[in-house]
């Protein structure tokens, strides 16, 4: 190791430093000052996020197990931005008396999962990839059980850890078959030696199933709604946005770099899974009353839309996946942000409770409406651009039937997103949620999201920048 190699893995090292800093700070603060940790940690993470945008070195380390390129740096920065918003949104919730003694735990667990995701994205070797994925999921289960004295939260933690272990096992099984055929776990070597023999196809299917659990694709989605509902809102938003985004990123990298030879096979698999994921996610979302479950199913459907960028194996596909992930982060975090603010103030989480919200809390209602429109893909907010380009990416390779199915599904999705808008703007309520003021950090979190939702779509420069860093098969 030399100083340059430190620069190559700067993102991970900076995060690790932040991790250590918070740990030390926790040790050296007295009982009375525990509250201060959250301010320090959020400020620290803001610096970490900003530092991510400094010009980064590229190259590979550990004999090719770790690789950093412009693409991975971009992905890590996107995840950092999302995590920063999540932390800002958790600020008020962490100040609750029952969370006082374990504020630092929240930050430590969150940052360690993020480190795991960064390693996962930068991996050049399946072992590294596996280590990253484990580091990213095990602390997540602890986070889901953060409200451990509530049954539902503890249950969510257990469910998440069991499902992750199972999916990791399946994933490893698939990788072992691929190793058996190719004799290597390095991405370039596997890609070079891969042939379309049945064992490889089978290995790929197992690998795909493992990734399907992480991205909560149908039929591997059953854990999603329960875990999302049980976990604290802020953890849920982290799970549904950052964790899913990171999984999508590494999945597309591996598909494009390791499995181009069998692209004819995975096109078909993805076609079927995408249709199932979008349709079933949508149909289940229609009937949800609890906002967290509702957003859980909507996020399953959204994961299906990501697959439209995967399927063509084209450069435009990768561009739009990254671009849509950024938009999805802003939109979904805005939605979760509003849900979390309302849950924080009133404890209400059901859609019926939102009846007449516009008359009492216009700001929150408009934020949630923009988020819903963005998720539904309505212009002029960013979701429209993201969805449109995803469809273009799939249509470029001639998947018109898939695009048509997906486009018709956006109408189903529009229906349930409009139900939320209807509750807030149109429905009358005997006892609407009383008017209240959000505090500064809650407003800041939502303001960042709104700015993102409004600006990202029109910012064609951003799209071009992402395109320059993307690649196809």
């Amino acid at each position: 190791m030399n100083p340059e190699s430190f620069m190559i893995m700067r993102h991970e090292l900076v995060l690790t430093l932040a991790f250590v800093f918070i740990l030390v700070a926790e040790v050296f603060t007295g009982e009375r000052n525990k509250e201060k940790i959250k301010s320090i940690a959020v400020a620290l993470f803001a610096i970490v996020t900003a530092a991510g945008f400094l010009p980064a070195a590229t190259g590979s380390l550990f004999g090719g197990m770790y690789e950093a390129s412009g693409t991975t740096t971009l992905m890590k920065n996107i995840l950092n931005i999302g995590t920063l918003i999540v932390l800002i949104q958790s600020y008020t919730w962490l100040g609750r008396p029952e969370n006082r003694d374990r504020i630092h735990e929240y930050f430590l667990l969150l940052i360690s999962t993020l480190i795991g995701m960064n390693f996962m994205i930068s991996s050049g070797h399946f072992l590294m990839f596996y280590l990253g994925i484990e580091l990213a999921t095990i602390p997540l289960a602890a986070l889901a059980a953060y409200d451990r004295y509530q049954n539902r939260s503890a249950e969510a933690g257990i469910k998440l850890i069991l499902i992750s272990t199972l999916s990791s096992g399946i994933l490893l099984f698939g990788l072992s078959m691929i190793y058996g055929v190719t004799g290597s776990l390095y991405f370039p070597e596997v890609a070079a030696k891969l042939t379309s023999v049945p064992l490889v196809i089978m290995g790929f299917i197992f690998f795909f199933a493992g990734m399907g659990f992480k991205m909560s694709l149908v039929p591997f989605h059953l854990w999603t709604a329960d875990v999302y509902e049980g976990a604290p809102v802020n953890v849920t938003s982290y799970l549904s946005v950052i964790s899913k985004g990171a999984a999508a990123f590494i999945f597309i990298i591996i598909l494009f770099r390791v499995f181009p030879v069998i692209s004819m096979t995975w096109e078909k698999v993805i076609w079927v899974i995408a249709v199932m994921t979008i349709t079933i996610g949508n149909l289940f979302a229609l009937r949800q009353k609890n906002m967290k479950r509702f957003l859980a199913f909507s996020s399953i459907a959204q994961a299906g839309f990501f697959l439209l960028g995967f399927i063509g194996g084209n450069r435009l596909g990768m561009t739009t996946v990254i671009y849509y992930a950024l938009i999805y982060i802003f939109s979904n975090l805005a939605a979760f942000g509003v849900v979390s603010v309302i849950a924080e103030k009133t404890g209400k989480e059901n859609m019926d409770d939102y009846d007449g919200l516009y008359r009492t809390n216009p700001g929150l209602s408009i934020t949630l409406m923009l988020a819903m429109f963005s998720l539904a893909g309505i212009p002029p907010v960013a979701g429209f651009f993201g969805k449109f380009f995803l469809f273009v990416a799939a249509a470029e390779k001639g998947f018109y039937v898939l695009v048509t199915i997906a486009v018709l599904n956006t109408i189903i999705a529009l229906y349930y997103y409009l139900l939320v808008v209807k509750a807030m703007f149109i429905n009358k309520s005997e006892a609407p949620i009383a008017s209240f003021r959000s505090d500064f950090m809650q407003k800041l979190g939502l303001a960042i999201c709104i700015a993102g939702i409004v600006v990202t779509g029109f910012a064609s420069g951003l799209f071009e920048m992402i395109r320059n860093l993307s690649y196809g098969i």
Partner: protein
Amino acid sequence: MNILSWLVIIPLLTITGILLVKDARQTKIVSAIGMGIQLIVAFVIVFMYISLRKSGNTDEMVLMSSFEWFKSLNIYYTVGVDGISVAMIALTAVVVFAGIFASWEMEDLKKEFFISLILLATGVFGFFISLDLFTMFLFYEVAVIPMYILIGIWGSGPKEYSAMKLTLMLMGGSALLMVGLFGIYFNSAPDGGELTFNILEISKITIPIEAQRWFFPFTFVGFGVLGALFPLHTWSPDGHSSAPTAVSMLHAGVLMKLGGYGAFRVAMFLMPEAASEMAWIFIILTTISVVYGAFGAIVQKDLKYINAYSSVSHCGMVLFAVLMMNRTAMTGAVIQMISHGLMTALFFALIGMIYGRTHTRMINEMGGLMKVIPFLGVAYVIAGLASLGLPGLSGFVAEMNIFFGAFEHPDTFHRVATIIAISSIVITAVYILRVVAILLLGPIRDNHYISLGDAKWYEKLSLLTLIAGIVYIGIAPLGLSNIIRESLLPIIDKIL
């Protein structure tokens, strides 16, 4: 800054202004001023267009400007107008202006109402000036979504159901349209050049016929939903009758024209071969629209439903004329769009005003209104006569052109379809005269109606703006039809 872009910027500035002011009164004034300026700009554009043509400019599109947007996908913000879009812009400006005054007495959530209404108008203006399919589609959706909120909050009757039905059906149409646009885009460079969304550039090449056969139905039906193409018209009666006055005006008057406009500007202009192959299917459907809509109007008792079905019939006529694919019929189609836009906006404005006084829209609960509110009564008769195509008013000019054009086709199929469609004129006369007789003439049904007041100044302003348009087109149609005819040339050349 190109003058066309101001058509999008002024509404956005008006919305900003509304956000800044405090009370309801100021909101009204800001909206009225903003849309007044918009009206002026629209007519400045009309005169600029006419003088450009007089000075010998024969470009297909004038006042063009273009900015690069998404470079790698070759998406540009490109604007430009020809005679047809200029006419549609003028129509939109007039209807929006009248709509602002028709909703002068809106009570609940006034600010939000005007913001949504003007946002809708922004989408419509943007649609008519766009020459790039991407921006066109974007503005199209911007115009549809505010409808949900507008009908849902300020509507009447089963408003939640109607709002959802209308939104989902129209967005369903735009979903089909999106697939059609992808098909056009990826076939826009058959010789291996750069793919483009630019309408003018695509019109220079020929999209392969197999691709046309696939994507023409998507595009045409996508626009057809908005143009109330049978059997996808069912959102229209529910939506229009539940919507508040200004929204019905704007929606039936202008938004439905997006369908007809898009159908020939995009679907037929860019895929003419498939269009002539498949025209017969759609001619059958539109003939059904025309006659079915008129019959539907006869049996309705609610004023708004009558007018909504009549809109289905008249907008069906637009699509019918477009599919005839000759210059006379298509000129008629565009005149019909404008004529129906003014006429139906007038109808809905009047219905709103009558409802505001009598608190009912059921025709058999009213009677003899001509004696108590003569101004509104006369205006209603004028709108009715325009609707049934009385010479001297705009409806006559439009229908004459359409049916003359349609009859130019010598074959049996076209002639039969035309004759069936023409029969709708008689049916129209039945439902219009029936309403006039029950509603306006005869004894006053209810003593409560004797004390009703006639139109106020802002109502008169709104109505007179629209009537002026109808009478102008009826008496001096040549100005308008000349503008339209010469702009149709490139389209006709391409289709034939």
